[in-house]
């Protein structure tokens, strides 16, 4: 027989055996799957998978989307548990989706396609994207009051920003700012702590450089701040410092770019100096930054406040404080998690009421939420003794009053184009591999392009 026929025959016998085995495997898989479904019919509803039903049309289900994973996710689940215990007749289906652009894209698409979730988490900065095209259900103050919530119960700044065109479109859950963590042991060794063992507020760029140099002298990583695979953190660092210097980025809802070159270069030069002088380790991603600080190698750590439970679980000697005002006034970049009611094709007052009841219950659990590091927007909890006793979380609660949110524009906000376009060159700056001027030029160029694009919302 020729080589090809030989091979054909060989394949046939091999494949005949294979086909038998594959048939067996396939059969086993299907059998296993059907057994699993039969056994867990409630949990694994395959049928729903074929009907494309998002479940929100049902009277007794509440579909809730959020992007809270990790420690946040655990806290949210605990809060949800309180609600489901109080309302066993409601099937609360909460879905956790990945943080970032895909979440907002999916949310937009779901609203547009007419079957959105009943309630979802939205970053407050995104209201300029969801407000204009009429994608959110407005909440009247009367309705709010009917469910036990009043404007005076919320952080004024966050609450005022939750409006668009005079209507309330979101209910704030918290404010989560960019903060400074510090390792008390390391800072003590560098002689930075005061008599009560706390780090006194650093009030100028020069003083910060001084403190960092002292940390470097004792062999610690002076400050760690991540940027690998994370354009959000470089943006937050820049925007915090730039706002402290009094600068604005955008005007006219994002149609005009007012980035001030001189002010920006002041800030960019400072960041660049941190890199070139070896005072900042930015060669880490988010996990890496946490690891460096947790290992006790760093004096300071600049990040959002949500890592507090990680370090507490590691039994670290650390504390937290508002990001120091290095360029004049006090300011820190922040955003807020809010609850939104996506607009449905037909209004459903009963559903709205269910949602507001759930929101009120969750707000009542704000202490649990605060344990995760966030500053509660629900003042009855924030002003309570229990929260004040929560250390180090309550150290920075004042930031909620002077936080700076991302400049309003359809292309800005958490996980947005602007954050990515600006965060990328800023990340390179933080490594010292890009000059302040080049960074500014790239940022300016991106903003110019964005501001001139046809608005797709």
């Amino acid at each position: 027989m020729s080589a090809q026929q030989h091979r054909g025959a060989r394949l046939s016998t091999g494949s005949a055996a294979l086909l038998n085995r594959r048939a067996f495997l396939a059969g086993a898989a299907v059998l296993g799957a059907s057994l699993a479904t039969a056994g867990c019919a409630g949990t694994y509803d395959i049928g729903a998978g074929f009907s494309g039903n998002s479940g929100g049309d049902n009277r007794s289900t509440l579909v809730y989307w959020n992007l809270l994973s990790g420690g946040d996710g655990t806290h949210m689940e605990a809060m949800e548990a309180v609600y489901t215990k109080e309302h066993p007749e409601v099937d609360l289906q909460s879905t956790i989706l990945a943080w970032g652009a895909p979440y907002y894209t999916k949310l937009s698409l779901a609203i547009q396609s007419g079957s959105p979730p009943d309630v979802a988490i939205m970053h407050l900065s995104r209201i300029h994207q969801y407000g204009p095209p009429d994608m959110l259900t407005p909440i009247s103050l009367d309705l709010l009051a009917e469910h036990g919530m009043e404007p005076k119960d919320f952080t004024p700044l966050a609450f005022s920003k939750a409006h668009y065109n005079g209507q309330l479109l979101a209910i704030p859950l918290d404010t989560h700012p960019f903060v400074q963590y510090y390792n008390t042991k390391v800072c003590h060794k560098a002689g930075l702590l005061d008599s009560s063992g706390q780090l006194p507020a650093i009030t100028s760029a020069a003083a910060m450089l001084d403190a960092l140099r002292k940390l470097k002298k004792i062999g610690a990583t002076p400050v760690v701040c991540d940027q690998i695979n994370d354009p959000a953190t470089p943006w937050r660092l820049f925007y915090t410092l730039y706002s402290q210097a009094g600068g604005q980025v955008l005007a006219d809802n994002g149609n005009r770019v007012v980035l001030d070159e001189a002010l920006a270069l002041r800030v960019l030069t400072f960041i660049h100096q941190l890199a070139t002088e070896g005072l900042m380790n930015a060669d880490v991603d988010a996990g890496g930054g946490t690891a460096v600080f947790q290992a006790g190698d760093a004096g300071l750590y600049w990040e959002g406040e949500w890592n507090v439970t990680v370090f507490q679980a590691a039994n670290m000697s650390f504390s937290m404080q508002p990001f120091p005002a290095l360029f004049g006034r006090a300011a820190a970049q922040a955003d807020s998690h809010t609850f939104i009611l996506p607009k449905r094709q037909s209004a459903d007052p009963e559903k709205v009421s269910m949602v507001l009841t759930m929101v009120r219950t969750l707000l009542g659990q704000s202490l649990t939420w605060a344990e995760g590091g966030h500053i509660p927007a629900w003042l009855p909890v924030r002003d309570s003794a229990a929260y004040q006793k929560l250390k180090p979380q309550s150290n920075y609660e004042s930031v909620a009053n002077y936080a700076v949110y991302d400049p309003p524009a359809w292309y800005s906000g958490s996980g947005s184009d602007m954050e990515n376009y600006l965060g990328e060159p800023l990340g390179s700056l933080m490594l010292g591999s890009m000059s302040p001027q080049a960074t500014y030029d790239q940022m300016r160029g991106s903003l110019d392009t964005l501001s001139r694009e046809t608005v797709p919302v």
Binding site: G71, K106, L109
Partner: protein, 296 residues
């Protein structure tokens, strides 16, 4: 590897034989060396997987030790437990299985019918259809995600199994493989089995399918693997965790707060397990099947 021993030299026949002996020895050493290099590289190839396994049984704090070490100070399966409670992995397994099996079935059926028609049956415009199908091989599927998304949006089928299954069924390469295979089947086999004047359906079912076992095996295997591992489309089309397939679901595990290296590695191991299991069972056949697709 056969190695010829250097020959004993008898006086007078020296030159040529010693030269060959020399060459044999050098060639043997060279062969041994080259084989050694490949063995070392194969071991190197296994390192990432081994490292993932090693990390997955460490406690989280041991995963950030600098410099990295293979040591496991505190052996624990807690990361594996955490995966199941932190994510919907069980559901993802089921979704992946359903989607992959259904897509494979539909692909094999439709592509074998088309391949058979293009190879053996006569009808108008055959050449045109064949060319049109071949052109489809070059379409990058990622470029189609927006129109596809809109299609399923209009049909209200986003986040359903239909959305995950249907777009993955048309595989021009499968048609190509079936056609090439049928082209190569000896005519007398077909003649022997054929009932004169049989219509297209009988012809397909009674003759083509039984003959096509090797091609069916090959197409089934790589369709199953590619569908199982498809990331972008399921990532977009599944808007809730309960509808995600394993790759799409794992894409959400990459993101997370805190030190989660052991968790990520154990999700990776669990995510890879089903296919690895299948692969280990049917290793030789899978490899033969894949190879069978490429050669004529």
């Amino acid at each position: 590897m056969a190695v010829s021993a250097p020959r004993r030299q008898s006086p007078g026949r020296g030159g040529a034989q010693s030269a060959r002996a020399h060459r044999d020895l050098r060639s043997t050493l060279f062969n041994r060396g080259v084989t050694g290099v490949v063995i070392a590289l194969a071991l190197l190839w296994l390192v990432p997987v081994a490292w993932a396994l090693d990390t997955s049984v460490k406690s989280e704090n041991d995963t950030i030790i600098i410099p990295a070490t293979w040591n496991i100070p505190h052996f624990t399966f807690s990361a594996y437990g955490a995966v199941f409670s932190a994510s919907d992995l069980g559901r993802w397994y089921i979704n992946s299985a359903i989607v992959a099996i259904v897509v494979t079935l539909l692909t094999v059926v439709t592509a074998s019918m088309a391949g058979y028609a293009l190879s053996r049956r006569r009808f108008r415009g055959k050449a045109f259809f064949y060319a049109a199908i071949l052109a489809g091989i070059m379409i990058p599927p990622q470029a189609l995600i927006v129109p596809l998304f809109r299609e399923f949006q209009i049909a209200h089928l986003i986040n359903s199994y239909w959305a995950l299954i249907l777009p993955q069924v048309p595989a021009p390469i499968a048609v190509f493989i079936f056609k090439k295979f049928f082209d190569g089947v000896p005519i007398s086999l077909e003649q022997a089995a054929e009932v004169d004047g049989a219509n297209w359906w009988v012809s397909y079912r009674r003759i083509a399918l039984p003959l096509a076992r090797p091609a069916i095996a090959a197409v089934s295997i790589f369709t199953f693997v590619w569908t199982w591992n498809n990331f972008l489309w399921p990532f977009l089309a599944a808007t809730s965790q309960t509808m995600m397939t394993i790759p799409a679901g794992l894409g959400t595990v990459i993101d997370g707060v805190g030190i989660i290296n052991a968790l990520q590695m154990s999700s990776a191991v669990l995510g890879a397990l089903p296919l690895v299991f299948v692969f280990l069972l049917a290793q030789r056949q899978i490899v033969e099947g894949v190879a069978g697709t490429g050669l004529k």
